[in-house]
């Protein structure tokens, strides 16, 4: 976060509105909110996901944690650009890039930051997250010291389904699970499926 006074104000408004509308509190189940370098990866159901996961982190961690977000959505108007760049400190990637889309993520990790990643790529309407894309695997292999923390965002597809104009005030929460181990010998698709089921398992634990 570049942290000017306007950005700090926008950030406070954003967190306040999130708390009022959807709560968005964190449940730290498998790990604690510590200042370690991490990739938080979560299911993706709505446009609010980025803001909710970011708001669920304690303020000290927000400063060093960068959501990975699609440039074609966040670069569309000055307000979104301001929120993405100055408030969230987002890493904007090209979804349909000919160049390497992971470049900005690598740069953020190399600079010591943490990432928020939605490995499904696009929002999925269903109850269970869709298949994970390969980016998480590449980053995990190239940065073995970074912890991989699964996060499940709950209720978001109800609060802000695809195509809705306004989010409905339904309480959402972010559940943080235990960090995932990485083994370079494990095949890519097996790792991605294991990461996906770690996120799903956190969701099922809430339902019971």
């Amino acid at each position: 976060m570049s942290g000017g006074p306007i950005a700090r104000l926008t950030g406070a408004v954003l967190v306040g509105a999130t708390r009022l509308l959807v709560g968005g509190h964190a449940r730290w189940q498998g790990c604690a909110p510590e200042p370690r370098q991490r990739i938080y990866f979560a299911n993706h159901a709505s446009h609010l996901d980025t803001v909710i996961l970011w708001s669920a982190l304690p303020p000290s961690l927000r400063r060093t944690t960068h959501p990975v977000a699609a440039r074609d959505y966040w670069d569309r108007d000055p307000l979104r650009r301001h929120v993405a760049r100055d408030v969230l400190g987002a890493v904007l990637v090209e979804r349909r890039a000919r160049r390497d889309p992971l470049g900005p993520c690598r740069a953020a990790l190399a600079a010591g930051g943490s990432l928020i990643l939605f490995p499904e790529g696009t929002r999925c309407g269903g109850a269970e997250p869709g298949a994970f894309k390969g980016g998480l695997h590449h980053l995990a292999r190239e940065f073995p010291v970074v912890e991989l923390v699964p996060v499940h965002l709950d209720n978001l597809s109800r609060a802000f389904p695809k195509g809705a104009i306004l989010p409905a005030p339904i309480v959402c929460s972010a559940t943080f699970g235990a960090p995932l181990g990485f083994d370079p010998a494990e095949p890519k698709h097996a790792f991605l499926e294991r990461a996906r089921s770690a996120v799903c398992a956190l969701g099922r634990r809430i339902a019971t």
């Binding site: 309407g125 597809s157 109800r158 695809k162 809705a164 306004l166 409905a168 005030p169 339904i170 309480v171």
Partner: protein, 312 residues
């Protein structure tokens, strides 16, 4: 009226001070693990009571607009809690959003405006007819009746019923002009005191559960002891109301009985949805609805009894 209200709020603060003192003494004496947990919960409840009383005291003393706004916010959070643990679908989003963004503000605006006829039919008639249309347009028929009913129930309990408490400010009672805040105080004091006293009597004497599967904490001993004590306090408060002591006692009894019914019914709803508490907003108490469940039944009953027998 302000002097009476100040005396009453001072009395409530005195009661809470006693409760805090008792909680502090109990915390020093608790020896077993179980007793410590119980006392810790009790003290969390007392602290939350201080906060809630402070918020309502400020609203009451500032006036009508802030009080109505405070109840609107209460309804907003109650509705949010209800719909959060209710299985709606993405197709219900429009009906849910309209409930929050249109019907909550409109209902309380009608009360602030004094439009009594429309405030009484807005949700039972207009929302009842409009919301299923919004869901039907989406074309999803699975579980349609149940989904529609859930949203309607949420709106009726969290908004319509609770809004009858501030609606007491609308009533014109001959010879009682300008003092309607005291009616609101009477309602809230009797409902909440009845809840607290039922809890205390239940913890001290409770043996026989009323409906163990619905609400294990509710016992006959708690209901009778706490209910009678709250009724007696209500009768003793007759001097702040337009009622005679006997009428005040009878109305307090109606509040206690309907409040108990509200607690029971909402507990059944909550458990049918698989939850123990409505939320975690108020420390020690659970959610807003855990505190407002009895108000949601008692407020309309008290409003209509007073309106029928006393209002011009």
């Amino acid at each position: 009226m302000i002097e009476t209200l100040t005396i009453l709020l001072g009395g409530v603060a005195g009661l809470l001070a006693l409760a805090s003192l008792a909680g502090w003494l109990l915390a020093r004496r608790a020896s077993s693990e179980e007793a410590r947990a119980l006392v810790a919960n009790l003290n969390a409840r007392i602290r939350a009571w201080w906060a809630m009383v402070a918020i309502f005291a400020v609203a009451f003393l500032v006036g009508k607009t802030l009080t109505i706004a405070l109840f609107a916010l209460t309804s907003f959070y109650a509705l949010r809690e209800f719909l959060s643990i209710t299985p709606t679908r993405a197709e219900d989003h429009r009906a849910v959003a309209v409930s929050f963004y249109l019907f909550v503000p409109l209902q309380y605006w009608l009360i602030a405006d004094g439009w009594q006829t429309l405030f009484q039919i807005l949700i039972p008639v207009w929302a009842f007819l409009l919301l299923p249309v919004l869901a039907a347009i989406k074309g999803e028929t699975d579980d349609f009746l149940a989904r529609t009913a859930r949203i309607q129930w949420a709106l009726m309990l969290a908004v319509f019923c609770i809004s009858h408490a501030p609606a007491l400010l609308l009533l014109h009672i001959p010879g009682f002009e300008g003092r309607n805040f005291l009616l609101l105080f009477f309602l809230i004091a009797v409902v909440q005191l009845s809840d607290v006293l039922q809890y205390v009597f239940g913890k001290l004497l409770g043996r026989h559960q009323v409906a163990p599967r619905v609400s294990p904490a509710k016992t006959w001993e708690g209901l009778v002891g706490g209910g009678l004590a709250a009724t007696a306090v209500g009768a003793a408060l007759w001097w702040i109301t337009p009622f005679t002591p006997a009428e005040a006692g009878a109305l307090a009894f109606a509040i206690v009985a309907s409040g108990f019914a509200g607690g029971l019914v909402l507990s059944a709803v909550k458990r049918s949805l698989g939850a123990k508490d409505w939320g975690a907003m108020i420390e020690g108490h659970g959610g807003v609805l855990d505190r407002m469940d009895s108000v949601s039944f008692a407020a309309p009953v008290f409003f209509h009894l007073v309106n029928y027998f006393f209002a011009a």
